[in-house]
């Protein structure tokens, strides 16, 4: 499906970096290997990758900082952390930075491959659906640019994660109609991520904080008890109209 996708491997350990590059190339990916954050930024500037496999402990900086830079430059690039730092706090930090996945070393190559394919599948789906919302939209109190994966309010500009973007796109596609939680789960998450209805609820809470005039009394994304959510079609308009 994503056999020709370009992957940027950012890994300072020679043996791990070389073996990953060889094995991913054998799987049909176009792989670039960077040993430092500076090399990664240069490679990213030459050609943005579809996916970045990112180590946290790099010789010239933190992988977390590099992830923020890469996401700012090309929000469409899926980021997957592959690191020896495996505490829950590290995982949460990585995912909060918008990473698609967080894999702790050591790992099985087949598992890594599966997670890469899941991340790329979501990124591809996202780019297809985004094309339907090329122009920036105003939803509630926020200006949403799905192409740049950005939400702007009076106070701040937030870069959306791929999953937040996927959930928002689904709501926009079905604006006015009720969107079931199960449908959101099926389309925005892979089965091996074990999402639960509460996972969807948490994402909705985050989106409400960005777009609702009063997140405590949501009017733009309404809860339909026992079923799912409904985006108020009247709250959506062209941002440049």
């Amino acid at each position: 499906m994503n056999a020709a996708a370009r992957i940027l491997v950012i890994e300072d350990e020679t043996n791990v970096g070389r073996t990953l590059t060889e094995r991913l190339t054998a799987e049909g990916f176009r792989v670039t290997w960077a040993k430092t954050a500076a090399e990664a930024q240069a490679a990213d500037a030459r050609e943005p990758p579809a996916l970045a496999l990112l180590d946290v402990g790099l010789p010239d900086g933190s992988g977390f900082d590099l992830a923020a830079v890469l996401r700012h430059r090309h929000p469409q690039t899926a980021i997957v952390f592959v690191t020896a730092f495996g505490t829950p706090e590290d995982r949460v930090r990585g995912l909060e930075l918008g990473a698609e996945d967080y894999i702790v070393k050591p790992f099985h190559f087949k598992e890594l491959l599966l997670r890469i394919q899941n991340a790329l599948r979501r990124a591809t789906l996202l780019s297809q659906t985004e094309s339907r919302f090329e122009r920036p939209l105003r939803v509630g109190r926020a200006r949403i640019d799905l192409k740049r994966m950005e939400v702007q309010t009076d106070e701040r500009t937030v870069t959306l994660t791929h999953k937040e973007c996927a959930v928002l796109t689904l709501l926009l596609e079905k604006q006015g109609a009720v969107l079931a939680r199960d449908e959101i789960l099926d389309r925005a998450w892979a089965p091996d991520e074990f999402p639960t209805p509460r996972t969807v609820d948490n994402f909705i809470v985050r989106l409400r904080r960005m777009i609702e005039p009063d997140p405590g009394e949501p009017q733009v994304i309404r809860s339909i008890r026992g079923v799912g959510y409904q985006l108020d079609a009247h709250a959506v308009r062209d941002a440049e109209a």
Partner: protein, 318 residues
């Protein structure tokens, strides 16, 4: 972030320590005041008795001063000794704490450094196996890599938890998770895992940290393989509801444990024929308790080993 949670725990510890020290100083001050009051009272009584006994004023005054000096010296020596011993104990405690912390940090960092070379060994062994060189040598290499990984993981997780590390509890569909994990963790291992009966597992949400749960499952599988009389080793997983908890039981067909069952799950407790470090079962219990549940172990020699994991259930979404 990691540092943040550690420093929060250390700060809590320091706060308790300061509170204890303050209470102890207050106790010493109270003891001092009480002793002063006793000395004063006794001195007055002695003066009174001497007056009744008709002792001359000069002699009475001299005796009164001598008695007061003696009482003050006795009390003062006792209090100085108490304060000195307390100070020495606090110093020893703090020095021991520093040594324990630096040892823990050293082991954690060494173990952490092992993760990257282990990744390299696993990647290359898997490459050999996938390239069609699945000789017994490569299989043994992969098996031993798994054992080393499990050991590293246990040591790191133990150091993290003992250092006050926290878990990330999320609702988890335990049935689906077990089905997926059983497949992936049994792949390439000499173990046969049976979810029995698969459909009877309640499709419930439990509160769990996925990484902690993976460590628990890996430990149980590792134990089963290590203590099995026959290969492939066999594990049967069942689940039942128990009041507000969900109990997942792992029963293996291994050689069991012949020692005192109450010792199971104690830190550094090893069976007579066990090759482990005595950390696995302890870690399982601590992780389950941190997830709001508990772990029970039971075994009889020759009749296998049973682990019952009690999970806290997560509420369904509206």
């Amino acid at each position: 972030m990691n540092t943040r949670s550690h420093s929060a725990t250390a700060q809590r510890g320091r706060r308790w320590f300061a509170l204890g020290a303050m209470v102890w100083v207050l106790v010493l001050l109270a003891l001092m005041s009480w002793w002063g009051w006793v000395v004063h009272q006794q001195s007055e009584k002695i003066v009174e008795l001497q007056r009744i006994a008709g002792v001359s004023e000069t002699a009475a005054e001299a005796r009164w001063e001598a008695t007061q000096r003696m009482l003050l010296w006795e009390g003062g020596t006792l209090l100085v000794l108490l304060a000195g011993i307390s100070f020495a104990l606090v110093r020893l405690y703090l020095r021991d704490q520093r040594r324990t912390n630096s040892l823990r940090a050293f082991f954690a960092s060494v173990t952490h450094e092992l993760r990257t070379p282990l990744t390299s060994i696993r990647l290359q062994a898997e490459s050999l196996a996938d390239a069609g060189n699945s000789s017994p040598l490569v299989e043994r290499l992969l098996e031993d890599t798994s054992r080393l990984e499990a050991q590293v993981e246990k040591t790191l997780e133990l150091a993290r938890l003992e250092g006050g590390g926290r878990l990330d509890l999320q609702p988890l569909p335990i049935h689906a998770w077990l089905q997926h994990q059983v497949q992936s963790q049994a792949a390439g291992r000499t173990v046969a895992i049976e979810l029995w009966p698969a459909d009877a597992l309640p499709d419930a949400l439990v509160l769990a940290d996925r990484s902690a749960l993976e460590i628990i499952l890996r430990n149980l599988i590792e134990n089963t393989i290590r203590h099995s009389k026959l290969l492939p080793a066999k594990v049967r997983i069942t689940a039942r509801e128990c009041d507000t908890a969900l109990v997942v039981s792992f029963v293996d067909g291994g050689e069991g444990y012949g020692g005192d069952p109450a010792q199971l799950g104690a830190l550094f407790m090893r069976g007579e024929r066990s090759r482990g470090a005595g950390v696995g079962l302890y870690l399982i219990r601590v992780l389950m308790q941190r997830m709001g549940g508990d772990a029970e172990f039971s075994s009889r020699p020759g009749s296998g080993f049973e682990t019952h994991l009690h999970f806290q259930r997560a509420e369904e979404s509206a």
